[in-house]
């Protein structure tokens, strides 16, 4: 299942012009047996990387991160994205990661934001393939949001607080949970 993956290629590195938290965008591509995918990695302040992916033929679709395609290739796609994260970690040993496991949205169905199907799968896949001893896992199940804080950072609690603040600032879809 998760033991297969696809080769990925780094297409482009784009430094962001405005001086906000979002610093650099990395664009990767990989081809599954059925279609081409784009994986975007956004590098934020504090060396936090957020990986997202979508099938390239739906690049202009607002719901490109919420799609569900019945290709039966989800596991190798997730494994490929995990490999991208490991590649970034090798390049940047202080890297921390974040992700929002988007809810599935189709014509007839809208999944709740809490504990999405993607969240449950990513949790398994990332725990298995990302070296857990190197990260502190900080999660918000109501928004299906996760931060993997690199333990090389000195004050992990302070770092996590700053990272969460930045996450809220840049991802307005995160809802109040208290």
């Amino acid at each position: 299942m998760f033991d297969t993956f696809f080769d990925f290629k780094l297409l482009q590195i784009t430094p962001q012009k405005d001086k906000g938290d979002f610093i650099t965008e990395y664009i990767f591509e990989f081809r599954t047996n059925k279609r081409r995918y784009i994986a975007i990695t956004e590098e934020y302040r504090y060396k936090i990387f957020v990986v997202k992916f979508y099938p390239s033929h739906r690049k202009n679709d607002d719901l490109r991160f919420n799609l569900i395609l019945n290709d039966y290739e989800f596991a190798p796609i997730i494994r490929t994205c995990t490999n991208i994260m490991l590649w970034l970690l090798e390049k940047e040993p202080m890297a921390s990661f974040g992700y929002l496991a988007s809810p599935t949205i189709t014509k007839d169905y809208k999944e709740s934001k809490s504990l999405t199907q993607r969240y449950r799968i990513y949790e398994y896949a990332l725990d298995a393939f990302i070296p857990v001893e190197r990260f502190k896992r900080v999660e918000n199940k109501n928004n299906s949001a996760v931060l993997l804080i690199n333990k090389k950072n000195q004050d992990i609690n302070k770092f996590s607080r700053n990272a969460i603040k930045m996450f809220i600032e840049n991802y307005p879809e995160l809802e109040q949970t208290v």
Partner: protein, 55 residues
């Protein structure tokens, strides 16, 4: 006669284990969001389960 001095080991107070925060709540621009910190034990248990399930 030879005398042997004995020294009593100084008693040290047991260090209280510092209670670690299990969640972080951040308020930003009026929005309050709580993130839970997952313990390493839990992550390891999950990892073992994940290996069995995924591979």
């Amino acid at each position: 006669m030879e005398t042997v001095k004995t020294y009593k080991k100084k008693q040290t107070k047991p260090v209280k284990e510092r209670k670690r925060a299990s969640s972080i709540t951040v308020t930003h621009k009026g929005k309050k969001v709580k993130f839970d910190i997952v313990s390493d034990d839990e992550v390891n248990a999950r990892r073992n389960k994940a290996y069995k399930f995924l591979l």
